[in-house]
Subunit: 222 residues, 2 copies
DNA sequence: ATCGTAATGCGACATGAGTCGCATTACGAG
DNA sequence: CTCGTAATGCGACTCATGTCGCATTACGAT
């Protein structure tokens, strides 16, 4: 259901009255799984520039027209693959110390994206997602989910009395990881372990100083 | 010359022996200026997805084949437009206080990107640049230049004794602005003035704590 | 087991991106 | 002023992307 919403909510401008989930079981589900797997494999191998609907069709064994109908194009394929990826949980550290936890987290991000084996897939996926509105929406949801999950680290620190009450956990997470993503996807600068450590330390310091106490309202935006 | 290097250095894999600058004056310069202007206008209006070589050709009055020959495609057009944009200087605050200076800087970023008049152009340009290797290279150069320029703010703070000697000014700038760019171009979250302020404060705090001093083992200052 | 219907498979078609060879123009040197 | 050459203009061509209508398959319910 969650998976459907991303697609119907973002892509196709053509098919307007479309019964929500008339036939979710069996073949359709298999087709989707095959397509998602093929999309991930293709985007990893070819990069987001070389990602082609026809290649995904060939690899997945699903016809080209079907892909265009259900996913609307490369955009939707990437968005759906990203949505599917968001379900996989992230390992949460719990060392009893905020700074250590944040260091583990940024270290994990660093490891994943710089690993020659693991890195290319999420890198290509995120780059691809930035290209279209559908992908951007999926990316937004993806990171919103991650922030919510990882914010627990900060919330535990609040419980321990390490951080002031009212601290916005998601904001702490953003502060810690933003410098990494900034280098990876905006400025294009190389990522090193020292940067990951500094970002975590800076976030911990700012959080302890009470810079991330939240305002009552929680804005959201498509 | 600078402008040539970006193009020849990044895009076309085809024309290898190419005399550096055989005929830089007159018409070629005019053509380039027209094309850059047309590219900026197009990418602002249509977004980076709707950016077409033919549209740029039509608007600039330059033939399609010429654009493909000199710029290699949409990638090169975006990269060149970005390179041209990097020349425009950024207003540097000098309040005598690091935190205030950083707040001004993040405020400026916030203002530019959220202004409905000014924002769309750099937003679309940066998004477009992330799509190709040529654009990514141009983006890297663009931000490297910006970091170098704005780092002066931190260096003055070092001179004043406000920051420890050996502080990496560029790193301070990155720390202050990364959360903004992260939201704008990665997580896709809305940007507000409070975020800009917090990012600046957090960077100032971390810088004062000495988190951004470069390692002594590296006598290499880029 | 059988039937109605949605989803998929299929191939032909339209469209725009990108390329190529050649004619023409304009720069820069003598 | 004249000439050689690089840069541009020009149009036709190829080809992949994306679309459309129809045939076929498989799901879900009776």
């Amino acid at each position: 259901m969650r998976l459907e919403s991303t697609l119907t909510g973002t892509a196709n401008p053509a098919p307007p009255p479309h019964t929500p989930t008339p036939r979710p079981g069996g073949r359709s589900a298999r087709v989707r799984a095959d397509v998602v797997a093929a999309t991930l494999a293709e985007v990893t191998e070819k990069g987001y520039d070389g990602l082609t609907v026809e290649a995904v069709a060939a690899r997945s064994g699903v016809h080209k027209a079907t892909l265009y109908r259900r996913w609307g194009g490369v955009d939707g394929l990437v968005a759906d693959a990203l949505t599917a990826s968001a379900d996989q949980p992230w390992p949460l550290p719990d060392t009893g110390d905020l700074q250590q936890d944040l260091r583990r987290i940024t270290q994990e991000v660093f490891d994943v994206f710089t690993d020659p084996e693991l890195g290319p897939t999420p890198t290509a996926l995120i780059s691809a997602a930035q290209r279209s509105d559908a992908g951007a929406a999926a990316l937004h949801d993806f990171f919103a989910t991650r922030h919510r999950q990882v914010a627990e680290v900060a919330e535990r620190a609040v419980t321990r009395g390490e951080l002031p009450v009212g601290t916005d956990g998601a904001e702490v997470v953003r502060a810690a990881t933003a410098p990494l993503y900034y280098r990876l996807f905006v400025s294009g600068e190389p990522l090193d372990a020292r940067t990951a450590e500094r970002a975590a330390d800076a976030a911990a310091l700012a959080a302890r100083a009470g810079l991330f106490t939240s305002v009552p309202e929680a804005p959201d935006h498509p």
